[in-house]
Symmetry: C2
């Protein structure tokens, strides 16, 4: 993945200018949402820890391959934790980490903006 951010210091989000680490942080946040299902998975887990098949049932139209992929990425990114219980057959539980739980303010900000945006924009598309 290309990161033009590294050389792109002049990007400004705040009036004082946006240092490189801010861009990295922004990028991190964006990476959490990339992919078609990541948001759904996080959403499913905000109602509490769940097992693989539970999440699968919770999210219509997702297939195991995708769910597996997304969960793995979220785990690597420290958003979701995976716990294996050696029952028979194995039980695996997924849960939001602290970071995962703290994404909510971001969602809230996005929703707040989105709602306002929708009000002022008569949706022509879709």
């Amino acid at each position: 993945m290309k990161k033009p951010y590294d050389t792109w210091v002049d990007f400004r989000v705040s009036p004082e200018g946006c240092p490189k680490e801010y861009m990295l942080a922004l990028n991190d946040a964006l990476n959490v949402f990339t992919g078609k299902w990541k948001l759904h998975v996080i959403g499913a887990l905000t109602t509490g820890k769940k097992r693989f098949s539970e999440i699968e049932r919770f999210i219509p139209d997702i297939n195991p391959r995708m769910l597996s992929k997304e969960l793995k990425e979220l785990e690597v990114n420290g958003i979701v934790s995976r716990t294996v219980y050696d029952t028979l057959p194995v039980t695996v539980e997924y849960e939001l980490t602290r970071s995962g739980r703290e994404i909510r303010p971001v969602f809230d900000a996005m929703i707040r903006w989105g709602l306002e945006h929708r009000k002022t924009n008569i949706k022509k598309k879709r």
Copy 2:
């Protein structure tokens, strides 16, 4: 573009549950960021209105096709406004709309989360 959100009412971001319009709003917000360059373009325009080639120079490694595409999408989505002046040759200025300018709190929330997230996660990747 598939929108599983429409049938997916059980997604919860807030404890009270997340109504469908919230999901749509969240989705709207996400659509603003999708694409490799959209964020850069918004960033470039936060420092004020700019012409096509100015934005091009502002963002390293972007090519005209991409810039054109992103600007068009942002315009359709009501984030950016396009003004044509009939000089010779034509001059075109791009500017953030009100909605576009008001994205900043969202960015701020993302950055705040991202910074916190980075602190607790010793980056193993990259």
